[in-house]
């Protein structure tokens, strides 16, 4: 589903990303962990064609992301608030994203309606602009917007950060359901080892832009990760 070939990003002499090869299967839930500056966001940004890699490519379903725009049809993503149009209301933003996938306002309303529980009644029907929502609520909006248009690939950067505990739990359930019901290929980065170990079947540890661990999740994974980061 996703393959990365020799993807590197240099800032001057500093190597922010250096991945020789990485393949992610359809329906795989893939977790990315690493300390600040390890290159997680750089990796996601270069995969999503937001920064120009120094070399190499990311391929989504046979589409090289830097060569064509076709991958945008089946990819949903939310990295940070730069994905949000901050002077729109939540509904308007959802309708806009829906339109990009040729969905009518009504279809979008129906789709978004199922997330009422996830939103905790704090998003829909609130007459305010996205910029006036709290960080956590902005994140919820971004995540749900990424799900519009039935994406086959979902990329989320730090989805658990800024969320309150009950929303974190709801989000985990939501991601698991997506994987089971629709076989969505998911890439999730997080600082919270608990959450990634819980949601992802495969975890990759980045350090200085390089892959240093690539593990299939089992009952010992959390311990393993904790010892790695403690040392």
């Amino acid at each position: 589903m996703i393959s990365i070939n020799n993807l590197t990003k240099l800032y001057g002499d500093f190597s922010a990303l250096d991945i020789e090869s990485l393949n992610i299967e359809k329906g795989e839930s893939f977790g990315l962990v690493g300390n600040n500056g390890a290159g997680k966001t750089t990796m996601f940004r270069s995969m999503l064609d937001l920064i120009q890699p120094t070399s190499g490519t990311a391929t989504f379903k046979d589409v090289v992301t830097s060569n064509s725009e076709a991958w945008k049809n089946f990819t949903g993503s939310y990295l940070d608030e730069r994905f949000l149009i901050d002077f729109l209301t939540a509904e308007e933003y959802f309708h806009f994203i829906g339109k990009l996938h040729s969905l009518s306002a009504q279809q979008v309303d129906e789709f978004v309606g199922q997330f009422e529980g996830f939103f905790h009644n704090e998003i829909l029907g609130k007459s305010k602009y996205l910029r006036d929502f709290s960080k956590g609520n902005q994140k919820k909006i971004g995540i749900v917007a990424a799900l519009i248009g039935e994406p086959e690939i979902l990329i989320l950067d730090e989805p658990f950060a800024n969320l309150d505990p009950s929303t974190q739990i709801k989000l985990k359930a939501l991601l698991k359901k997506l994987k089971e019901e629709r076989e969505v290929t998911m890439l999730i980065s997080s600082h919270d080892l608990n959450h990634v170990a819980d949601v992802c079947e495969r975890i990759v540890v980045l350090e200085h832009g390089k892959i240093v661990h690539d593990i299939k999740t089992n009952e010992n994974t959390l311990k393993e990760l904790e010892t790695y980061f403690a040392g």
């Binding site: 937001l50 920064i51 994905f83 901050d86 806009f96 007459s127 248009g149």
Partner: protein, 487 residues
């Protein structure tokens, strides 16, 4: 208080403007000195020039005749070009610094700008060389004070008008109407502004009583601006998160155009829901009315007609277009990562421009009152604007656009709306004049007009091609633009 002066001194000299080489700064200094000397010289010889034009009449009285006209033009220029004094209040709000003092300080500081200094560089040599010599030195002082008062009125009035533009455009419109009717009265010889001007400034030279009126008005404008600042100097106004009730809206008319329509809808909301872009839109709209002043006073030769046509039909495009893409810096990443086709993105902007030009042109039909020739020229320029200027504006927008933070403190966020952008527009405005002039010289007047229609028509016919070129250009530049916006 002295600390505040020190801080703004540091702010000035540590600003990025000076972060160039010492040599460049030295050259700039020389240039300013040269300009100042020129102004001073102009003021010095103004009397002789006036004496040549109107022999046997007092140059002082003749100069005074023109002063109010000067201040009328001055207020227009200021409204467009004078920077709004920025209250760097936030870091002081929680400190035991008197807020009132801060505001007074900021407003007084606003007097130190190019508009206010250049006139005195001219006026003082004249006052010394003519008024003090032929009338009295106290008269010279009074005269300078009178100028100071009108200068102050314009200074504070333009600050106030610019500030309330986004919230209460009716005030600005009302003021514009007042000025326009004054000019109309002058044009039809009902009330002569010049006579009044002469009465006032001549009077000031002989008797200081004449100063009272202007000084009182200046005090009043100062008070209005002060009140406005004082009312708005709270943190919430800086953060601009007045929790108003907002209705979600869909512009259903645009739904017909699928993705492009949706992109236009978002852009319209951008313009209307952010103070800074809203100001730009309203100012551009006001320019449509400039015809009422320009056509009766500006003459009707072909070149000024083209320029006026460009201002009236193309102002939104030029004004808003300077920051195209930059307006969207806050969510450009989102546009790139989502399913937005770049060609649709460009089409949306092209249609927005086209609609603005067509709407302004339809309004400008009213100027047929001043002559049918105007309609013809405006039509030619409108077609040229749609077919040529719009593509130029779109193309230049891809050059290294800078981040604009629309969401943050729009109350204080006016950087980049000063004279600089205005100057950038000059070459764009010169193009149709140049094209017309070329064909006018080779063939004749009609050919000049036709050349504008044809150039615009070709541009419209080649919409697909230009769109494709721009899409490629934007694709090339996308990483650079996106990283600019991330800082």
């Amino acid at each position: 208080m002295i600390e505040l002066v020190k801080h703004s001194w540091k702010e000035f000299f540590r600003s990025s403007v000076w972060q160039k080489s010492a040599f460049v700064n030295f050259l700039m200094g020389l240039l300013f000195l040269y300009l100042a000397l020129n102004f001073a010289f102009l003021g010095y010889v103004a009397g002789d020039i006036l004496l040549k034009i109107f022999p046997g009449e007092s140059p002082i009285t003749n100069l005074n005749y023109g002063l109010l006209y000067y201040f009328l033009i001055d207020i227009f220029l200021r409204f467009y070009m004078q920077p709004i004094p920025v209250l760097s209040l936030i870091p002081y709000l929680h400190l035991p610094v008197n807020k009132k003092k801060m505001i007074h300080f900021t407003l007084v500081k606003s007097l130190a700008n190019v508009f206010n200094t250049s006139i005195f560089i001219m006026a003082i040599p004249f006052a010394i060389g003519w008024i003090a010599k032929y009338e009295s030195s106290s008269g010279a002082w009074f005269w300078i004070f009178a100028l100071f008062a009108f200068n102050g009125i314009n200074n504070f009035l333009s600050i106030y008008l610019k500030r309330v533009l986004a919230e209460k455009p009716q005030i600005v419109l009302g003021f514009g109407g007042l000025i326009a009717s004054l000019i109309a009265l002058d044009y039809f010889d009902i009330v002569k502004i010049g006579e009044f001007s002469r009465l006032l400034f001549d009077g000031a030279i002989y008797n200081a009583v004449w100063l009272l009126g202007p000084l009182a008005i200046m005090g009043l404008t100062y008070l209005i601006v002060y009140k406005f600042y004082a009312k708005n100097a709270y943190l919430e106004n800086f953060e601009d998160s007045k929790k108003k009730n907002i209705k979600s809206t869909n512009i259903s008319f645009l739904n017909r155009f699928e993705q492009i329509g949706k992109l236009i809808e978002v852009e319209l909301k951008l313009i209307w829901r952010n103070k800074r872009s809203k100001s730009v839109a309203i100012v551009s709209f006001l320019f449509v009315f400039y015809g009422f002043i320009l056509y009766p006073t500006g003459g009707q030769n072909a070149f000024s007609l083209i320029l006026f046509g460009l201002i009236i039909t193309g102002m939104f495009m030029l004004n808003y277009g300077q920051f195209l893409i930059s307006w969207e810096s806050g969510y450009f990443d989102g546009l790139l990562a989502r399913n937005v086709q770049l060609s649709d993105y460009i089409s949306a902007k092209f249609y927005l421009f086209t609609a603005s030009v067509v709407a302004a042109f339809i309004f400008s039909l009213i100027y047929a009152y001043f002559g049918w020739k105007i309609v013809l020229f405006n039509a030619a320029v409108a077609v040229f604007n749609i077919g040529v200027t719009s593509w130029i504006v779109l193309y230049t927008a891809t050059f290294n656009p800078k981040k604009i933070d629309l969401s943050k403190s729009s109350f204080m966020n006016y950087q980049g709306t000063g004279a600089q952008q205005f100057i950038l527009m000059i070459p764009v405005m010169g193009l149709p004049v140049f094209l017309y002039g070329l064909f006018y010289l080779i063939v004749g007047e009609t050919a000049g007009l036709i050349s504008l229609f044809v150039a615009g028509g070709i541009g419209i016919l080649l919409t697909k091609t230009f769109n494709k070129l721009l899409t490629e250009r934007l694709r090339e530049q996308r990483y650079k633009i996106a990283s600019n916006f991330r800082e």
